[in-house]
Symmetry: C2
Subunit: 224 residues, 2 copies
């Protein structure tokens, strides 16, 4: 497998330009729940499991969230994000990358900390070919930064996680990749700085899917 | 003047938590004008003069903006931002910082790349005391990264710009400070990474107004 690494792709901020709408939706949801937080602090948590995100943000304000409150928060976020989904677009190169990987017969999958219900309209935007595995929050016990999502994606492809390359825009994607013993590749398209991604262990950093595609040889991704 | 530096403060992302709403508003405005750009690329231009921002983003997509198109874009952005202004809050510590500076009789002013019409509702959110100068886009020939706004703010206070400290959340604030020969202090509250602000010349970087206030001695800001 060492000559043909599999590619595991995050969704929000990696294939889809949705991180800023997620940050705004969480900001409103938290405020409705009585938790006041700056949007940039929320932005830096996007890509984490929704439960961890809500817990960690509540803790920052000295709040303890009950399970009921956390569930309510997640529902409010899902509703407020859905209200903005018509403004959400695929990132530059996302469709080309999807086509290219499929054409080259690279083993690849999508792994997202989001629930399937939130991910479904986004997956439509990139014309996901049939047969590409999609692992969501609903398939694993713990989302990122736990390694479960990347590990489940590699398992679904039948490839060893150690030879897979996990691509994401957030620090949590890269920390999860390190925990999973995959190589992590960072994209700037979620709005993190290059330095933040490198410090979280990124093997390489590209601007967005278009930039990754035009440098895909650097990762040793070859046609079948 | 060396023992009592004046403080020149940016508005969006520095006193007010409005950068993400600005990014979303520009994203929609640009799309209405036929220009498709990722939100993170727009985010990295917030704090620039609106004209430069529109020009630079249009250029990225191979578009040449006519003066009329640029004016239309700026109007669309102002309208779309105004529609979100009810969700915009002061940043943590912004009101405390304003009170503290006024109580300490520090010479201070606000200098923003935004127009007065967009800035007015935001200035209300921080209870700006009467007598604090506010320099907006309407007062200068060129907004940031040109040095005009910081220079005009220092002039209004009657202090030499070389002894002033200019505080902002964007790379453009810091580049403008260097061009003006002021010291630039960066805040993370606009969503840039620490490294990006340091590489743009930040003398110090704090999280937000609250963090700046609790470290204000580091800047040698003393009571009268």
């Amino acid at each position: 497998m060492t000559d043909r690494p599999a590619l595991l792709l995050d969704l929000d901020g990696t294939l889809i330009d949705s991180v800023y709408q997620h940050a705004i939706a969480w900001h409103k949801a938290l405020e409705l729940g009585g938790i006041k937080l700056s949007v940039w602090r929320i932005h830096r948590r996007i890509g984490m499991s929704g439960g961890l995100l809500a817990d960690s943000l509540a803790r920052e304000t000295g709040h303890e969230l009950s399970e009921k409150e956390a569930a309510k928060l997640k529902r409010a976020h899902a509703r407020l994000f859905a209200a903005q989904v018509r403004d959400v677009r695929p990132l530059p190169g996302a469709l080309d990358l999807v086509r290219h990987l499929t054409k080259m017969r690279v083993a690849w999958a999508v792994a997202t900390s989001g629930a399937l219900a939130s991910a479904r309209p986004l997956l439509k935007l990139v014309n996901l070919p049939p047969g590409v595995p999609v692992i969501t929050r609903d398939d694993v016990a713990h989302a990122k930064p736990n390694p479960d999502l990347w590990i489940a994606a590699a398992a679904r492809l039948g490839v060893p996680i150690e030879s897979a390359i996990a691509v994401g825009d957030s620090v949590w994607d890269l920390l999860a990749a390190r925990r999973a013993r995959a190589l992590g590749v960072g994209l700037l398209s979620g709005g993190y700085g290059e330095d933040e991604l490198e410090r979280a262990g990124a093997y390489r950093v590209y601007a967005d899917p278009a930039d990754l595609l035009s440098h895909i040889d650097e990762l040793g991704i070859r046609a079948d």
